[in-house]
């Protein structure tokens, strides 16, 4: 098992190196001249040439890549000319907002999928099963951006129940920075009004993101509950006369939750795409919105930085999922 993990780690390092290479190359083939963008529309040609030389944009690509890797090793992601700050500072500012959004969406989608999957498994072949399947496929089929617009129209414009976007209403000052998650920080500092306000802002984007999470997970939950129900230990537990609820909780779900771990990697890919779109529609100040703005403005340091962070998190999550699964499933461990 040690060698399996060691191989997996070497592989991860290779993939991470590849990620830097791909993001670097993507950013250097941008059509617009970055120096011209940085200098601004009024700049003279000599000023543009000066900036080009200053940032080393005239050097050969491999020299630029070497410099980029050296900076990266020191944790330096360069300067964003969109926000006029260090990309690392930007990412540190925007990442907690995304983590909060995606975290709640994952939780909501998972809980709903657990319920639907279990009900569908117990009522296999019945109408409830088909309804569960339809709802799951619908969750994956609804265009995220369109659902977001509709919910905004209904719950903000028509009913006026929920805010249009952002993390807090204008005039609300964020709680002292502890974790960067507004709902957590406001509770830790005992500021209930801010908590409610932050929660209200979370509802719509979280629901929209959770739809896909739900869609992807229902199927796995249903199958694994069906598998667990067919196991000897469940029959034994039923024969012992345990209540239905106790069998479900202690024997079925405990074993059925394991396969859900395997889709976490896929869920993250889905969330990354969702965050990108949802943050843009809801003006959510997270990493997805940052990446989107950077892409549109040809801000290549910011684009590289944001893409890199998203890809690195993705690779690391997949690594963790593999290792966790290795521990959880002895059949894989000993082969």
């Amino acid at each position: 098992m040690g060698t399996v993990i060691a191989r997996r780690l070497v592989f991860t390092v290779f993939v991470l190196w590849g990620v830097t290479l791909v993001t670097f190359l993507l950013s250097r083939v941008v059509p617009g001249n970055p120096a011209r963008l940085m200098a601004g529309p009024q700049a003279s040609p000599s000023a543009v040439a000066h900036i080009s030389r200053f940032y080393g944009l005239t050097d050969p690509l491999y020299v630029q890549y070497g410099r980029y890797m050296r900076d990266l090793a020191q944790g330096n992601l360069g300067f964003s000319f969109l926000t006029r700050r260090n990309v690392r500072t930007d990412i540190a500012t925007f990442l907690p907002a995304t983590i909060e959004l995606a975290g709640y969406a994952l939780l909501l989608g998972f809980v709903l999928a657990l319920i639907t999957g279990t009900v569908a498994a117990y009522r296999r072949g019945k109408a409830a099963d088909a309804a569960g399947r339809l709802s799951a496929i619908a969750g994956l089929s609804l265009p995220v951006f369109w659902l977001a617009l509709l919910l905004q129209l209904l719950f903000h414009t028509e009913l006026g129940w929920l805010p249009l976007g952002g993390r807090l209403s204008p005039g609300m000052s964020p709680p002292p920075h502890i974790t960067g998650l507004l709902t957590v920080d406001s509770l830790l500092t005992g500021n209930f009004a801010i908590f409610v306000n932050a929660a209200e802002h979370l509802v719509l984007p979280v629901v929209v993101l959770a739809a896909g999470v739900y869609g992807l997970m229902v199927r796995i939950m249903r199958t694994s509950v069906i598998d667990a129900l067919g196991e000897e230990y469940v029959r034994t537990a039923q024969a012992k006369g345990l209540s239905r609820w106790r069998v479900l909780r202690r024997h079925v779900l405990r074993n059925a939750l394991l396969p859900a771990v395997t889709v976490l990697g896929l869920e993250f890919g889905l969330l990354a795409a969702g965050v990108f779109v949802v943050e843009s529609v809801f003006q959510w100040p997270g990493i997805g919105n940052y990446a989107f703005q950077a892409i549109q403005a040809n801000d290549y340091n910011a684009t590289i930085g944001a893409t890199l962070v998203i890809a690195v998190v993705y690779v690391v999550i997949n690594l963790i999922v593999d290792i966790v699964y290795l521990y959880l499933d002895p059949r894989i461990r000993y082969t």
């Binding site: 991470l16 089929s141 265009p143 617009l149 249903r222 890919g269 892409i295 998203i310």
Partner: protein
């Protein structure tokens, strides 16, 4: 191959009518398996009909500007209302169906052809070639697909063609992986070993024996990916990275309607309904096919990789 040979002898005379009957008969159990299969198939057929015969069905030219009838709510003349230039949204939505179907066909043709070819090479060649191809797919799969597609589309410059290319770049590694896995398991099977004993060359084995057996699983995967390809294209267009106005691509229509959503909800709602139903139809069909063609796959992670 023995099973297929038996089936071939069984075949009815090849007249058009009998072929149609045969097709109908082979489709029937699939539709009977679940009502959702029928729903998915019906939606897909409708979308394909709209894509092919759209211009004949559409009440108006989708580009026809009519400044006397701007932002009209849905009515008998304009079922889905009109936009800020008085264009008929129903006609635009129908024109959008053709774009979405075309886009999906191109994306999947590119990625299936390229991905399958590399997958077969990788699986048959083994050794260093296999290793190199697999590590390259690893690099592409290390990125969340949509993010990579967005970055590529933005780098190439926003247009529908670039979005199609970007999505094909994101899709092909999945096919290479899928096909390589199939080839690895198939190449040790008796009929391939028999062919090899009979001194069949690698090309012969690849085209005669492997391609046919891989086809079923390929069809399932493609049907699952069509919905995602359409959805991803529209999402990128909505973000301004894909189809540009005045293209009636659904995502682009929704992006345009967005600024008028408070006064003209129909402009955003109807293209979205069309998009959601289309993707739902393809996903239902793909999901049903997966269960039906290979019940062993039921619930496993092997198919339907969507992100």
């Amino acid at each position: 191959m023995t099973g297929q040979d038996a089936a071939r002898q069984d075949r009815l005379p090849r007249t058009a009518a009998s072929r149609l009957r045969r097709t109908a008969r082979s489709v029937q159990p699939f539709l009977a398996e679940s009502r959702l299969n029928g729903l998915g198939a019906a939606i897909v057929v409708l979308v394909l009909l709209l894509a092919v015969f759209g211009p004949l069905i559409a009440p108006q030219n989708p580009d026809q500007v009519n400044l006397a009838a701007v932002l009209q709510p849905p009515s008998v003349q304009h079922w889905f209302g009109t936009d800020s230039l008085g264009r008929d949204i129903f006609s635009q939505v129908i024109a959008g169906a053709r774009i979405s179907v075309e886009v999906a066909v191109i994306i999947l043709s590119l990625s299936v052809l390229f991905g399958t070819a590399l997958g077969i090479i990788s699986g048959l060649a083994g050794g260093i070639v296999d290793e190199i191809i697999m590590r390259i797919t690893d690099l592409f799969l290390a990125f969340p697909g949509f993010i990579l597609a967005a970055a590529i589309a933005a780098t190439l410059g926003p247009s529908l063609q670039h979005t199609v290319l970007a999505l094909a770049v994101v899709f092909w590694p999945w096919y290479t992986r899928l096909i390589r896995g199939q080839v690895l398991s198939l190449r040790e099977r008796e009929f391939v070993l028999a062919a090899r004993v009979a001194r069949a060359g690698p090309m012969w084995i690849a085209t005669r024996h492997l391609a046919r057996n891989v086809l079923a699983i390929l069809i399932v995967q493609v049907s699952l990916d069509v919905g995602y390809a359409i959805l991803a294209t529209s999402s990128l267009s909505f973000l301004g990275l894909g189809a540009q106005p005045p293209s009636p691509e659904w995502g682009a229509l929704i992006a345009n309607g967005r600024s008028y959503i408070q006064t003209a909800w129909w402009w955003t709602v109807f293209p979205g309904v069309a998009l959601a139903l289309t993707v739902l139809g393809f996903n239902l069909l793909g999901d049903g096919l997966r269960d039906w063609i290979d019940p062993r796959l039921r619930g496993s992670l092997a198919g339907g990789v969507q992100e």
